[in-house]
Structure formats: structure tokens, C-alpha cells
Symmetry: C2
Subunit: 201 residues, 2 copies
């Protein structure tokens, strides 16, 4: 990743995360996708880190959620990440890979398993609940289900890892009123080559 | 607006804004649109209030920005508004009307003018700058332009009011783990009728 003498977008983002780390919600960003009805769709999700030594971004979700349906239909998304204390915004556009239990790639399945074990038990329990977005049935004393989960048990079927592969980044710094556009092309060995230009804020 | 005994979504939002008003960025939300290249587009914008006695949401922007191009092409958007202190999220989907100086409706032009005068002088000056998103030219001492603006002067040509007319709201409360879906239909006199249902978070 080269940015001709300046920080890369990933270094800018890591610096921003450091300087906003006292804000509990600094790891939250908004992920927009294409709705099945042709309208945009937008929701808050949690940053689960970069994939080892890459700039790919991990997100966890329930494979019964609408975003997974939308991403199966059109695997493209844009993250909007506003860091409230440093007044920085990262818009990260890219393609999204969906890794659920049916993934044929054993390395991908291992990543999914590792992601599962990094979750708190409370987070894992959510994947055992009723399907998100469906009508909520009031549970009576008799019908209420009690879920239980062995902490050593691997990922349940609904647990899904999303991997966003960034292709374009729009970085805005409201403190010094500067804005940069990072775009990606592929080098001779299929490696990512980034170029950056200053654009008007 | 009826929600059968519960708070309306607008009342929920106003309550959330009150309880988060100590956060400077509580009036910021993410607006997603459909990119011209078929990919989603997502950026942070500022809530400029509701239109008088309605649930329509005002946003201000530069008519040279990419979002305006995208909205001219497809006038649909989804707001994702996360209120960090109360752990509430509002996803507000609707159509967007673009009100610039060429708008044929005199009432709309008045609204645009009123919106302009509610802006700080500093905000107004931004509309005199170079086109957002274009390559940034380093200004030399000789070429640098000094903009000046008479505070009594009406809206400049690049000032644009966006009016989002909500049609569906997804409300999530992470503190009590509840979620509601509000949908809108038109009544006999074209008035909006809202229905709400509890859905699984």
C-alpha cells in the first residue's frame, strides 16, 4: 500500500481509532447496502478488526438478517464511519464476502470459527434467538424458551462473518478541512496499489 | 399519526434527541443513497429540523455534491441515526425532494431562503468555495481567492435544501432490546397513516 509519502488510509484510520478509543461507540459504523426493493438500506454495525495483515474489514451478523439477503443479491456496500471526537469521516466502498457455515473454503471456515470465539457469550446468545426483523411474539411464561450455550461450542448455523474488501476510500477531516480520495488498482501480482489525491472538502 | 397507544416514531426520536442533546454530534446522521455506478453511497449529514408540523426532515447541502447527482437520478434514501448515549437507532427510509434555486414552487423557495438564514455565516461561506469532490488545487498567494459574503444576502446558487419524506422507520432500542417497524399508508385525504408492529431485534 503506497501513498507517496503520506499516511495510508489504514494508518489514518488506525490513528483515528486510537484518538477516539475513549468513546465506547467509536467502533460502530454505518453500513449501507442496496435494498431488494431498489431503495438504499443503512444500519449500524460493529467493527471487528482487520483481517491479518490486510485492509479487509470484518463484521459479524446473523445470516437471517436483511443485510445478508441484500448482500447475497448485490455484494457491494459503503461504510460511513464518523469519529466524533477527532471530527474525521471515512467512507469505505467495497465488495463484501459472506462467510457462513456453507462456505467451501476451509481457511474461511477457520476465520469464522475464530471470530465466533472472540465474541462474548452474551453476543453469541443472540444468534440463538428468533429471526431478526420478523414479528415479535410475546412469550408467555409457559412458551418462553430458555436458550443455553456451551462456551466451548463452535459457531451456530446463524453466525455469519462479513468481509468487506475496500476499493475506494473518501477521507474527510473537519478539523483541518481537508479531504482525500484513495482508489485501488491491481498490480502485476494482483496486489492492491493505492493512489491518493487531495479533493475539495 | 396514530400508533395505537404507543409513542409515534417522531415522539420517540424527539425524546431520543432530548436525552442525547449533550452530545454535540447527536444531530449528525448517515444518509445513504444509490451511487450512479450501482454501488451504495453513504455520508454523514446534519439534521436541520422537521418541516413545520410535519415529519419531513430537512438537510442542507451543496448542489455540486455527489449526493445531489445521485438523488436527481434516484430520489430515495435511508437515514441511519444512532444515538450513542441512549443506545437507540432510527433507520428512516423515504423519498427526497431537492430544492435549489430553480424550484418552481414559491413556498419551497421561501423554505430554502429561511433555511439559508438559519445557517451560521461560516457555514454559508462553504457554498462559495470550490466544488466539493473535485481535485484540490493548492492556492498560491497570488491565486488564492478571498470570498466575502453580506450577511443580509439571500441563498447563493449552490445552496440546496433536501427534504426527506419518511415512509418506513425501523426503531431499535439496545437498552431494552426492543425493535419496532413503522410503515406508512395514505388515508382518504392523502394524509399519512402510520402503523407499528414489534419485530425481533
Amino acid at each position: 500500500m503506497t501513498t507517496t509519502g503520506r499516511l495510508t488510509w489504514k494508518e489514518l484510520l488506525q490513528r483515528a481509532l486510537d484518538s477516539n478509543s475513549h468513546l465506547k461507540h467509536s467502533s460502530f459504523f454505518q453500513l449501507s447496502t442496496l435494498g431488494l426493493n431498489g431503495s438504499p438500506s443503512n444500519r449500524t454495525v460493529v467493527f471487528r478488526g482487520f483481517e491479518d495483515n490486510t485492509d479487509r474489514i470484518h463484521i459479524q451478523t446473523d445470516n437471517r438478517s436483511r443485510k445478508v439477503l441484500e448482500l447475497r443479491n448485490r455484494p457491494v456496500a459503503e461504510i460511513c464511519w464518523y469519529l466524533a471526537d477527532s471530527w474525521e469521516q471515512f467512507r469505505i466502498n467495497g465488495t463484501v464476502e459472506i462467510i457462513d457455515s456453507s462456505n467451501p473454503n476451509s481457511h474461511r471456515l477457520q476465520q469464522r470459527e475464530r471470530a465466533w470465539y472472540t465474541c462474548s457469550l452474551r453476543s453469541r446468545m443472540q444468534y440463538l434467538g428468533p429471526a431478526p426483523g420478523l414479528p415479535h411474539l410475546i412469550e408467555t411464561e409457559h412458551s418462553s424458551c430458555q436458550y443455553s450455550l456451551d462456551p466451548s461450542e463452535g459457531p451456530v448455523g446463524t453466525f455469519c462473518l462479513l468481509v468487506l474488501d475496500p476499493e475506494e476510500i473518501d477521507y474527510l477531516n473537519l478539523k483541518n478541512n481537508s479531504r482525500m480520495n484513495f482508489t485501488c488498482s491491481k498490480g502485476p501480482r494482483e496486489e492492491k496499489c493505492w493512489t491518493v489525491k487531495m479533493i475539495n472538502p
